[in-house]
Amino acid sequence: MAGSRHRFFTPLIDENPVTLQILGICSALAVTTSMTTALTMSAALTAVLMAASGLISALRNHMPKSIRLILQITIIASLVIITDLVLQAYAFDISKRLSIFVSLVVTNCLVLGRAETFAMHNPPGPSILDGLGNALGYSLILMIVGFVRELLGRGTLFGFTVLPSVEDGGWFQPLGVMLLAPSAFVILGLLIWAIRAWRPAQVEANEYPLTARAEG
């Protein structure tokens, strides 16, 4: 039980797929302009990652080594298509706002990465748990970035007003730049800094140390 708890909790902070392993950032940032889209994207990714890990792990002994990548991608793509169609059927507005980014889960390195490194070598149970843990680690980052961007960009959370803006007679002046692409990069950069200040083990080694030069 300790093993599975470890497997579930380490990807949240200590081995977070986004901030430490640089996996799956492609789709992570584009959908963070509001909490609603970030949450939908997280749910979609969680569903795909858990199903893909489980399926690939169940089939792992029947996959010839030479064509395993093609099989994995086909399985992931089929799951993504199903997720996309379900979203279009039940949440059409959000599906329109997510645009192509749900489809891009296919090339999300996180899904293929977990399939290749974990699900191919472990039974379905632990693989699903590993998928869930990593998906939640990814979702956590998405939600934090989405929280900052929506709160400061519009003064709302999930579309509900939290900080009344000047236009509606309140006091809060929305920061328009938070809704533009650059802010997402900077927020994620600062978030990584914060995590690494908290967990110094994640600090990268200095490849080019500065040496003090002798005077004169």
Binding site: I25, T74, C109, A181, L188, L190, I192, V203
Partner: protein
């Protein structure tokens, strides 16, 4: 057309305003020469795959595309994703073999980057944008070339800055990935300025 081309390079830059291809963008930008190799491969593959995917979609997938075969009701749009990935993987493979046979020097230069590109979100994203925005054939050629150049420009810029960053004294926790994100944010901020420039 020229407006679409310039927008694809600057204002609608795939990596800086749509966050596409970020994994490769961050991983292969430590040195300028390797970044330039990847950038060249990216332009070539993007220019090829967007128009090819346009043709696949127009003549095989969309509703009514099979009318010539007496099957006007067949709608294979749901296969779009798998078809696009297959086309990209096949195109990269064929390109690799062709280069190996006819331009070995270029093959050696691009060799290791080509397979990486198969799973690059920017390539798939370019094709998906083409489908979503309903470009015609000419537009998809221009968009493919423009977005490829835009991505190449972005990675060349970042790699050049990162080479300089070696001499900077970055705070411990920000070192590596953190500072790279902040730099990318600043480059991206510069590129948003292009979106307000009136194009000819």
């Amino acid at each position: 057309m020229s407006e679409l081309f310039l927008r694809a390079i600057f204002a609608d830059n795939l990596v800086l305003s749509y966050f596409l291809g970020l994994c490769t963008y961050l991983a292969i930008s430590k040195r300028l020469d390797t970044a330039l190799g990847l950038a060249a491969a990216m332009i070539v593959v993007q220019t090829l795959t967007v128009p090819i995917n346009y043709l696949i979609q127009r003549y095989l997938l969309l509703e009514g595309a099979w009318a010539w075969a007496g099957l006007p009701d067949v709608d294979l749009t749901f296969l779009k994703l798998i078809a696009f990935i297959g086309v990209i993987a096949a195109a990269v493979q064929i390109l690799e073999m062709t280069l190996d046979r006819y331009v070995p020097a270029l093959y050696r230069a691009l060799g290791i980057y080509l397979p990486l590109i198969t799973v690059n979100c920017a390539i798939l994203g370019g094709s998906l944008f083409m489908a979503e925005r309903q470009y015609d054939f000419g537009e998809s050629v221009v968009f493919g070339l423009g977005s490829g150049i835009g991505w190449a420009l972005a990675i060349a810029l970042l790699a050049a800055i990162r080479e300089r960053l070696r001499y900077a004294d970055v705070p411990e926790g920000l070192r590596g990935l953190g500072i790279t994100f902040v730099v990318t944010g600043l480059i991206s901020m510069g590129f948003t300025a292009f979106s307000s420039v009136a194009l000819p």
